[in-house]
């Protein structure tokens, strides 16, 4: 029979909706509303995982986010496999497949469990002390074995097909946690008319009320009250209620990140739905109502399957109708475990004893005894037995001198424990609020706030339900008021049947066993025991941060939710210091592990970064172009014809341009319209070139430096009118040049009347270059006299092309007669097609960026960012002629005069001709005087550009070489793996030195 541990009635599961699922291949059933953990327990399965280091059998310890043991991999298919999920949070669905992890060959028989036997050696930090000899064994033997043993689940091997979404949201009041405190807070905020977001990580709102059958609020059962409040909130259009939504990060200025899990609980998720959504919430005010987490007791062998938190067992019973066992011993330092014992007892579970660590017991001791349960006070657990599940508990009484006298062995199939409650401070602490330590209750609590938030309920240390509700309501009201809304004032709630969970213990419990031998676990997943922590302290790790890192306590996937306070108390004891003097480790995001995909959300593929295409892109693609990425742009790289290699295509394109004409899409170049009465003055200052005297209708090649004197960008500038310049920049430099210019205008030269407008995308730019360029465009152009006299090299004219208005530049980046036609972008494709037809008719072809690079290199024209690298001055780049030396100031003038920039011996741009013309140098290759440089020889330069020049029938290269211009004719060497390549230093202009072709 399945579900033998399911009670015949009770709980919030849907009994009419059975759900079949598999765990480690075994077919099991549960009900809709079950978590994997509750369904496994219903089937009597406690053994769910193995621990990280010792591979000890582990069961379900908790009922929530803090679970360190019961980690599983849930798979829908090969690609949709998610490791390391906590069974306590996984909701089962029909057909779910879950697997245990970190065990081989099976969960029950795990070979690595020998680690447990070796645990006397495998203490904290043992690996720092060994595996050092023989030295080379580290990489070949030790490390691979350590790695293979470490790790928990397996990452999926296929790309994740699921989608993730994101949402920015704003509200007056964000309430984190929908237990009684959070619900009351949301209610108060709603009543004020505030915009409210309420989130809870669980499938259902209600928090602790869901597990409590006894309480009444305002005369209703707690569950009914919460149902009504949730309904009221859900009906308000000002409230957004988010279940299965974890607040995982709290950032500056009340910016809170929530992870909403949308489809993981569904058997067949709708295809249109994202799997998860990242909410980025900017809240005016935040109410933190995240409750408290129960703490384990640290006693010998406290980790066997079947040992679980008392409140978790109560939750399983009341919320899921599941008994954790049939014979359940309870060990506690806190009243809340009595509630569990009483509820179990009432449900027919045998409770052999409650072992209360407190000498006098607590508020419910008498009630338990009255119910017929044996209660031992001043008692403690000294050990447990059972291989894959707890079978018995040994206990003793603590004597006046602190020693423990062994008492008896209690057979059982489950053991509940409670060390008290730890307020969930993660959100508060992440907000950089300061914690304070409350001595009497041994708790850290929220202290001074850093953000606009307040905590309410158990996370604020308030445990009595009435007070929790009042405090929650007050927090919501207070938050709404602080957000600027009118509120109705405070409210008190009438509560009955609630027990305040008082009592707690911190640190390891005393026992009568050999302390050097027993294992009393503090951090369950990482197998950190009380003696590990003491060892760390003994070895000089006195800061709690050191203890954490040396023992790895608190570093497991639960991030110390159950272990941190006990570890701290043990460390404090070993250091003989009060707890606050030792301090807590830092709470960091995320509160619980959070899917990478939710951070990346829609940024994948084409949405990873915008793909910017020019207006001729589709044409080029149809023409077979290969594209390259330049910044966000796609640029046509070359246009291979059928069967043509890149090399052949580029050669052909280059030859065609030199012999006839080529057409090139230059649209991606940055363009800025500089307008205003002071435009010329501004240009004069921002560029190294003089600009005041540039005539309207003329262009100039401009070089721009930063104030440090190094080349920043370049481009051709045309003067369109006295008060208007058309500036071009490099493709990649466009945004930063605009920002650089705005910076000087807005903050340095605020008196100048000049305005900038980016026109990069206004214009499609079609470069037509080659001896037949004029012939190619002439028939299409109207209103511009293209003759040499009327439109000289480096001029700009306004006219139309095929009726479309254009700005026509006569300029050249190839050394040939050339024009650049700027037309409004939407006409780009049509004009391109028309010009292309002319070009083809004249024997020309389109060319891409690669041919463009070759052509310009043949002419010795630099590419900023390729031939320069941010350490090069205009003079060194061979464009010193551009610097307006008589200008009183320009950006970079003073920087260029710094001592080191004036030193001889700096690099200069030169050409390199390989002695063997067939050899093409590699860009980035180094240059040395010697053919056979000794290792660590100083390189005197490097190759910045290198190509095969089809027109010259040889290779060409540009290089930055120390004192390069004084070395013309010298033979240098480019050492390569296969031997050095001899090169001659030459002028960087390889082709048409006289420049006759520019202006035929």
């Amino acid at each position: 029979m399945s579900q033998t541990f399911r009670r015949p009635e009770g709980g919030r599961i849907k009994r009419n909706k059975p759900v079949a699922f598999r765990f480690d291949g075994r077919a099991l059933t549960g009900y809709e509303g079950d978590t994997l953990a509750s369904a496994l327990l219903a089937n009597g399965v406690h053994l769910v995982g193995r621990s990280f280091k010792y591979h000890r059998p582990r069961g379900i310890l908790t009922a929530g986010a803090e679970e360190p043991n019961a980690l599983v991999t849930v798979s829908r298919d090969a690609a949709r496999s998610t490791p390391n999920l906590r069974a306590t949070q996984v909701e089962i669905y029909e057909g779910m497949t879950a697997e245990s992890q970190n065990r081989w060959p099976s969960l029950a028989f795990d070979a690595s469990a020998v680690n447990d036997l070796l645990s006397p050696i495998f203490v904290s930090g043992f690996y720092y002390k060994t595996f050092m000899w023989p030295a080379k064994f580290w990489t070949s033997v030790y490390e691979p074995r350590i790695r293979a043993a470490a790790g928990l689940g397996k990452a999926p091997e296929l790309p994740d097909p699921d989608r993730y979404q994101s949402r920015f949201a704003h509200c007056d009041v964000l309430v984190i946690g929908a237990g009684p405190a959070g619900l009351a807070a949301a209610l108060a905020a709603m009543e004020s008319g505030a915009r409210v977001i309420l989130c809870d990580e669980q499938a259902e709102m209600g928090g602790s009320l869901l597990s409590d059958p006894d309480v009444t609020i305002e005369g209703q059962s707690g569950r009914q009250w919460s149902t009504d409040v949730i309904m009221a909130l859900a009906l308000s259009d000002r409230v957004t209620c988010l279940t299965r939504t974890t607040a995982f990060g709290y950032f500056a200025d009340n910016f809170v990140a929530l992870a909403e899990r949308i489809t993981d609980h569904m058997a067949t998720p709708p295809a249109s739905s994202p799997r998860e959504r990242l909410w980025q919430v900017r809240a005016k005010q935040v109410v933190i109502a995240t409750g408290a987490l129960e703490r384990p007791l640290v006693f010998p062998e406290n980790d066997r399957p079947g040992i679980l938190f008392a409140d978790a067992a109560r939750t399983y019973l009341n919320r899921y109708g599941v008994m954790a066992g049939r014979k359940t011993v309870v060990a506690t330092a806190c009243d809340s475990a009595y509630l569990a014992a009483l509820d179990l007892h009432r449900a027919g579970v045998e409770v052999p004893a409650i072992l209360d660590i407190r000498r006098e017991g607590g508020a419910l001791t008498a009630a338990a005894r009255a119910a017929g349960i044996r209660v031992e006070t001043g008692a403690t657990v000294t050990g447990t037995r059972g291989r894959l599940r707890v079978a018995s508990v040994e206990f003793g009484h603590v004597q006046a001198d602190g020693s423990v006298r062994h008492d008896a062995v209690l057979p059982c199939d489950s053991l509940l424990m409670s060390g008290g409650w730890t307020p969930t401070l993660h959100m508060f602490s992440q907000s950089r609020g300061k914690l304070r330590y409350e001595e009497v209750t041994g708790r850290y609590l929220p202290g001074r706030s850093a953000e606009h938030e307040r905590s309410a309920g158990a996370c604020n240390g308030t445990m009595a339900l009435g007070a929790v509700l009042d405090e929650g309501y007050a927090a919501g009201e207070n938050a709404a008021r602080a957000a600027g809304l009118a509120t109705r004032g405070t409210k008190t709630f009438a509560v009955a049947g609630a027990t305040t969970p008082d009592g707690q213990v911190l640190g390891a419990l005393p026992h009568d066993r050999n302390p050097g031998r027993v294992k009393a676990f503090v951090d369950f997943q990482h197998d950190v025991t009380a003696k590990d922590i003491k060892l760390a302290v003994r070895e000089g790790f006195r800061s709690i941060e050191h203890v954490k890192r040396y023992t790895t306590t608190g570093m497991a996937t639960d991030q110390g939710k159950t272990s941190n306070m006990n570890a701290l108390a043990i460390a404090a004891g070993a250091l003989d210091k009060p707890i606050p003097a030792v301090g807590l480790t830092t709470f960091r995001m995320p509160y619980t592990p959070t899917t990478f995909g939710i951070f990346a959300n829609t940024s994948r593929g084409d949405l990873f970064d915008p793909v910017r295409r020019t207006s001729t892109h589709d044409w080029a693609a149809a023409a077979g172009a290969e594209f390259e990425n330049v910044g966000m742009w796609k640029r046509a790289w070359y246009f291979p014809r059928q069967g043509e290699s890149m090399h052949a295509a580029v050669d052909r394109e280059c030859r065609t341009v030199r012999a006839a004409v080529g057409i090139f899409d230059a649209s991606t170049l940055g363009k800025i319209e500089v307008v205003g009465p002071d435009a010329a003055e501004f240009m004069h200052r921002i560029y190294v070139n003089p600009f005041l005297k540039l005539e309207v209708g003329r262009c100039r090649y401009g070089i721009m430096c930063r104030d440090d004197g190094f080349v920043y960008d370049d481009g051709v500038v045309g003067r369109i009118a006295a008060d208007r310049f058309h500036v071009t920049t490099t493709t990649g430099g466009a945004p930063r040049v605009l920002s650089h210019m705005e910076d000087y205008l807005q903050t340095e030269w605020t008196d100048l009347k000049v305005w900038l407008t980016s026109t990069t995308e206004q214009w499609a730019v079609i470069a037509v270059q080659g001896p037949k360029a004029r012939e190619a465009i002439a028939p299409l152009i109207e209103g511009i006299d293209l003759s040499k006299a009327a439109m000289p090299h480096m001029s700009v004219r306004m006219g139309t092309i095929l009726g479309v208005p254009c700005r026509l530049f006569r300029m050249s980046f190839t050394g040939e007669l050339g024009f650049e036609i700027n037309v409004p972008a939407a006409y780009g494709k049509a004009i391109w097609e028309a010009v292309h037809a002319r070009v083809v008719a004249l024997g020309g072809c389109p060319y891409g960026t690669e041919a463009m690079h070759v052509l310009r290199a043949e002419k010795g024209y630099i590419i900023v960012g390729q031939d320069t690298d941010g350490t090069v001055t205009p003079d060194e780049a061979g464009v010193g002629w551009a610097v307006g030396k008589s200008k009183p100031d320009f950006v970079g003038k003073r920087g260029l005069a710094r001592a080191d920039l004036l030193k001889p011996g700096r690099t200069q741009l030169v050409g390199l001709a390989t002695v063997d013309p067939k050899v093409v140098l590699e860009e980035g290759a180094q240059i040395t005087p010697d053919a056979d440089p000794a290792p660590r020889t100083h390189a005197i330069g490097h190759v910045t550009s290198a190509y095969h020049s089809a027109v010259l029938g040889r290779s060409i290269a540009l290089a930055m070489v120390e004192r390069g211009r004084s070395r013309l004719g010298e033979t240098l060497h480019v050492p390569m793996p296969g031997g050095a390549i001899a090169v001659t230093v030459v002028d960087p202009v390889f082709y048409d030195k006289e420049g006759g072709r520019l202006d035929p």
């Binding site: 990280f52 580290w138 790309p159 950032f251 960091r588 390259e628």
Partner: protein
């Protein structure tokens, strides 16, 4: 007590009660020959080499928090030496040499794992820059090789080399000797070895002032544990260097930015090497424990907050998911931040200062973990001899005045 398998075994029989403190935690003496400010890896290594190689053992390392708790304890531990400029190559390769047997020298397993560091190129420009590094490194005798996308995939099987992604991988530079190490162990190993040689490591002791004599030379420091005299002071305070140097009236060419990193939940081995992509900003490796260790970019503003913005994290993870799409379902376990001290040329400063007796070692920014042994080694030399070691001679403060920058940033915008 020497660490070895034998001593481990021996101690197992005495329930490990016999281990001594790995380092002493003494109260400060009245004065020391040398005070090192900052017990990060660099400061501790400096102290160790002062004692081990220069016989200067009357040394204190003062630390405002816990040793190794600065960037040393927060970094993604990428180790490589394939930098561009000769000055950097020499310095980082010196460190790489020292990494090779550091565990044995310190008698502390720092888990230096030369699993290879692969730096991806996504654009033609990236390819040019990467190849420039490869060639420069080869000439300098530093191993660095160029891989095709297929070779890169063979070296790192999870890598997505599809041509269809937004920025396809066009190749990669691989330094096989590069890798990772266990960051905490580096700090602890140096601390233990230095302490054994007599160095006092004084934690929870914040320097609040630097005292100077009538001739302007340093005479000591004020701390939260009182004044301590010193003949020489070496400041190795990473993100806080500006603050400490300000106490001696010096302004520094530094800005401190938050830099974030994160780890995933532990996974069985899936990622065999280190992969860096500067173009799309992602750095990833898998630790011995099984977590994916991922580095992000810096925030845009100066901050000492040791946290950073969510948008930085989202950007990092979208890059990781694009390159390794099977990791989309993997989950982040923890995210944190450090404070990195960035110089204008992204190269460190390891130098004497205009103040007599005051030395500074800073500016390692986003990439100084790899240099820890080398940095400590040459800085100890600089302090002991009052003159720089040849390897750190170029890394002066004056280079910013003269304009002789060692501009790793300009050349490549490389982070770690």
């Amino acid at each position: 007590m020497r660490f070895s398998f034998a001593s481990l075994l021996r101690n197992a029989f005495s329930a490990h009660t016999g281990w001594p403190e790995q380092w002493r935690s003494p109260e400060p003496k009245a004065a020391y020959d040398v005070i090192i400010v900052g017990a990060g890896g660099h400061g501790l290594a400096t102290a160790y080499y002062l004692a081990a190689e220069h016989g200067i053992t009357n040394v204190a390392v003062v630390e405002r928090g816990w040793l190794g708790g600065g960037n040393t304890g927060r970094n993604t531990t990428i180790i490589r030496s394939n930098y561009l400029w000769e000055e950097s190559e020499a310095l980082y390769d010196h460190a790489l040499d020292l990494w090779q047997d550091l565990s044995q020298v310190l008698n502390y397993n720092v888990m230096y794992s030369p699993r290879g560091v692969m730096m991806l190129a996504h654009t033609v420009h990236d390819v040019q820059v990467s190849k420039r590094h490869v060639h420069a490194n080869r000439l300098a005798g530093i191993q660095n090789e160029w891989l095709s996308p297929e070779e890169a995939k063979a070296f790192c099987p999870p890598l997505n080399i599809s041509r269809d992604i937004r920025y396809p991988v066009m190749g990669a530079a691989l330094q096989r000797k590069g890798g990772v190490a266990r960051h905490d162990a580096v700090a602890w190993g140096y601390a233990r070895a230095a302490s054994a040689l007599g160095v006092d490591i004084i934690q929870n002791c914040e320097v609040t002032a630097i005292r100077r004599g009538p001739d302007g030379a340093v005479t000591g420091i004020e701390t939260t544990k009182g004044p301590i005299g010193a003949k020489k002071i070496g400041v190795v305070a990473a993100g806080h260097t500006s603050v400490v140097m300000g106490m001696a009236g010096l302004r520094m060419p530094l800005e401190s930015y938050p830099l974030q990193a994160l780890v995933s939940e532990p996974l069985k081995p899936v990622f065999p090497c280190v992969v860096m992509s500067n173009t799309i900003h992602a750095y990833i490796s898998q630790s011995d424990k099984g977590d994916l260790v991922i580095g992000a970019g810096t925030d845009q503003y100066v901050s000492y907050s040791q946290t950073g913005g969510l948008h930085i994290t989202t950007h990092t993870l979208d890059a990781i998911c694009e390159l390794f799409p099977m990791f989309r379902r993997v989950r982040m376990l923890r995210n944190w931040g450090g404070i990195v001290d960035v110089t204008p040329d992204r190269s460190p400063i390891l130098a004497k200062t205009p103040v007599k007796g005051l030395f500074v070692n800073c500016g390692w920014g986003t990439g100084g973990f790899k240099a820890t042994p080398g940095s400590g080694h040459v800085f100890a030399h600089t302090i002991a001899r009052d003159e720089p070691h040849p390897k750190n001679a170029p890394f002066t403060l004056e280079r910013f005045r003269d304009g002789r920058l060692i501009d790793e940033a300009a050349a490549a915008a490389v982070a770690h």
